[in-house]
Symmetry: C2
Subunit: 345 residues, 2 copies
DNA sequence: TGTTAGCACTCGAGGGTGTCGAGTGCTAAC
DNA sequence: GTTAGCACTCGACACCCTCGAGTGCTAACA
């Protein structure tokens, strides 16, 4: 892939960039005349045509039909993202906008995540998604069990970073509220400072030793808790934005896209798969999901206390403004990381 | 409005019904020939035409242009819903489908609500919404406070019906976990069996008397809790279904509609406004929201233990299949009420 | 050798025209 | 009161034409 760069001389690169830039703005095929005028390289359309012909042969451009302009191929976007795109700086206005709308006084993680998704979508006018920080990687500080009715209780897990999550779990009907409180204290004490998944295995024997008879019940409860803790939540905003782009003016296509967004399965998969890579860009068919193969997904991670705890991303047409999206995402990643680091102490 | 019935003789009614039925299916203007054939009244198209002309004059039909068929007006839908529509029975298959997909073994309210919304949307192919049972009308059984970090705690409210809700609240930094536990027990004891809103007023003085110094803090906490308990959650499923209907083939229109659905504000308003009326139907411009004025919203309430605790509804084009929607909603209302009544004991 | 002007060619978009068919309203006859 | 007949309307659709943007090729130029 990095061969691409050496394959193309500077001029071809500049022409390709001009074409991609133009196509990103207009969504209609770009002709040699336009490139000649727009790119201040002082070349005539004829020359540009020759170069464009080469670029087409090399697979960077595609021709919808003989006498239309050229359209960038996925390969071109890939090259653009990897080598050409000058990771645009945000304008002062944009940075200002983000600052103003990410309310740092908010004291709840969920609220911060929602705000982040909103800002991300508003800034880019694409669909945004933010993975809610995942507990499984954090250390447990407290697990509280609250009796709800005979047979069910709510478990609230608090991590050392202050992120919380709760789950309804089934409990043996025989347990009294007092029993539950006892168990609650016991498991908090045993799990404190451990990661939930690994702690369960190492700690269970101890628990079993201490409270013989109810051990099985506790064991089941911990498994319930672990299961629901490992469920990931995604905050999605701006799904309807996709209808602003002509590539989705076909109702059936838009429908498939939106239905996929609505279930969230693919988004969740992308975000969790990308949650340890600082930045990923999936262009068109690089998405496994068929309904997503003419859009692109860009993700970045965010941290708290120097450690990756989640990721977020933007979904738009393949012809998205990669420069802006990357700039916004990087900036937002830093902002969110700062806020969370403070919030979670 | 009920005059309408007397205004129209039986034959006009039957013709109108035939037109509405046909238009609901096809979404294209209905001509006299079609009515003549479809409705087995043995009348020639010419006769039908005379009647249709009258119906147009009376405001029940509209003519897109001179030589198209007629389209039902909102007034016609209103009449249809109020008087004509035979509140269709579900087919056995449909009832079976609902039974199969509403898993009665699920033991968590939230999950039941999500399932309900899903089934509702799948059955009708419109957008569905279900209001999560509201706590404010229920009696508190327990309020647990769980320390999360200095300055914040999570409050979990459990009602006598077993519905739970939690909220992050701010607490004075000076409170130790032990203090919090004490307060937690105190307010549970004081509020047990009362409705949250009214209890706060009546109980606060007692609390104030018992724990002088921290009373203000507790007071603030209770207000925080009350505020977030009165927030209503709505589960929405099938927003993208609207793109299946030609009336939303215009991207801009679809966009507005979906954006409105996405914020959920209007849906929430409709559901809460309707949460004490067994069934409501809002047709077209009967919706206050401009973006919703060419769709209809039908809602029903659901109960637990004989008492209304929430509502749910379906949103679709004005030309929706009211008969089916009403039948499904009524059936689902009973099903959900049954499930919740058992679940919440 | 790289660049450019010129030119014939292609093809979609858009506008105009004509036909077709569904539908109407009116009138007169049953 | 119902119906057949008829002239009329109007959108949908197919067809044709023109226009313009764009191409590829060739030959001339620096």
């Amino acid at each position: 892939m990095s061969d691409n760069k050496s394959l193309l001389d500077i001029r071809k690169m500049r022409i390709l960039q001009a074409i991609v830039d133009d196509y990103i703005m207009t969504a209609s095929p770009v002709g040699s005349r336009t490139v000649s005028k727009r790119s201040d390289m002082g070349l005539s359309p004829a020359t540009i045509r020759n170069e464009m012909s080469d670029l087409t042969e090399l697979g960077f451009l595609e021709q919808p039909h003989t006498s239309a302009g050229r359209v960038p191929s996925e390969k071109a976007y890939r090259l653009y993202v990897n080598h050409i795109m000058d990771s645009a700086k945000l304008t002062d206005d944009e940075a200002e906008y983000i600052k103003r709308h990410l309310d740092t006084r908010v004291h709840e993680v969920g609220e911060v995540i929602r705000q982040t998704a909103k800002v991300l979508s508003d800034m880019t006018n694409y669909t945004s998604m933010v993975l809610v920080p995942q507990l499984s990687s954090m250390k447990v500080k407290r697990i509280s069990l609250i009796p709800v009715s005979d047979g069910t209780a709510m478990a609230v897990v608090v991590t050392n970073t202050g992120v919380t999550k709760n789950a309804m779990i089934r409990i043996p009907e025989s347990l009294s509220p007092e029993d539950i409180e006892k168990i609650s204290k016991l498991i908090t004490q045993k799990l404190d400072g451990h990661r939930l998944a690994e702690a369960i295995e190492s700690v269970l024997p101890t628990i079993r030793a201490e409270i013989g008879e109810q051990a099985d019940a506790v064991c089941g409860m911990l498994e319930d808790i672990e299961r629901s803790m490992s469920e990931t939540d995604v905050e999605v905003v701006g799904a309807s934005n996709i209808l602003d782009y002509p590539e989705y003016s076909d109702a059936a296509k838009a429908r498939n896209f939106l239905a996929e967004i609505e279930t969230g399965d693919y988004l969740q998969k992308v975000l969790t798969d990308s949650s340890d890579v600082e930045m990923t860009v999936r262009i068109g068919t690089e998405n496994e999901n068929p309904d997503m193969q003419d859009c692109s997904v860009v993700t970045v991670t965010y941290k708290a206390g120097g450690k990756n705890i989640g990721s977020m991303g933007v979904i738009g047409p393949t012809r998205m403004d990669y420069g802006k999206v990357v700039a916004v995402l990087k900036y937002m990643s830093r902002s969110l990381s700062d806020i969370l680091s403070k919030l979670l102490k």
